[in-house]
Symmetry: C2
Subunit: 122 residues, 2 copies
Amino acid sequence: MELIQIYQCFCDATRLRIIHLLTQGPLCVCHFQDILEVPQTKVSQHLAYLRKREMVETTRRGTWMIYSLPSKLSPELESNLKCLQDCAQTDKRFRDDLKKLGKVKQGTEWIGETLSQKSTCC
Amino acid sequence: MELIQIYQCFCDATRLRIIHLLTQGPLCVCHFQDILEVPQTKVSQHLAYLRKREMVETTRRGTWMIYSLPSKLSPELESNLKCLQDCAQTDKRFRDDLKKLGKVKQGTEWIGETLSQKSTCC
DNA sequence: CGACTATATTCATGTTGACGGATATACTGG
DNA sequence: CCAGTATATCCGTCAACATGAATATAGTCG
């Protein structure tokens, strides 16, 4: 992944929040919706943008689509993700996203290879 | 400077090269032109973009306009500039830019507050 | 002041991107 | 197979951006 493409992926607020969430681990679309509070279409479109540029990978689990960062990160991407995590700490918006992520995650839990469902959503 | 704006400034190839050059120190427009080998208009427009977003500062020195990074960098910008410098090392294009910067700089030299001109350009 | 150099701005145009609304697809459980 | 949920894609529209050409501005030197 070219450096410039990394920045292109990073340069929209919604995408940046998505990527930031993904640094914490894989996440399914409905969780993105819950956390970001943006329309489903918007989430899907940005995820499509990221997929097209191979910034994210997907796995289907039933009707849910789980998004994650690529399993092997280029050094450039890795550096920039670290930098992002670092910068995000001082930003209220990103911190709030992480808080919500925690709450949303409380509703679900991974047990081995299966997802134990506690919330109404995935 | 907001994180997202940093990425917006970084997300065009020409701008990224400009910013990368600026991490090495102030530079005037004609040097950008020489190094980047892009039309003057293009350089000026990208510099205007960066100026508007306060990613760069300017000083006039005679007919030349010297561009530099802001004297006080936000922590976010500083982190990202470091990251950029890091990533740029492994990229041929950026390395070539630095090589050219060296050559161009050989033609000029700062002596105290005055610019001793050795090349035809500033 | 006038010619010249360095740089900026304006303009027109093509492209990409962001977004909401509508619709399609994919999987699941009955 | 059907209904329902999760997600993706398509479409139209609007704004932002990238770019080259032409022109304007600012400073210097004679």
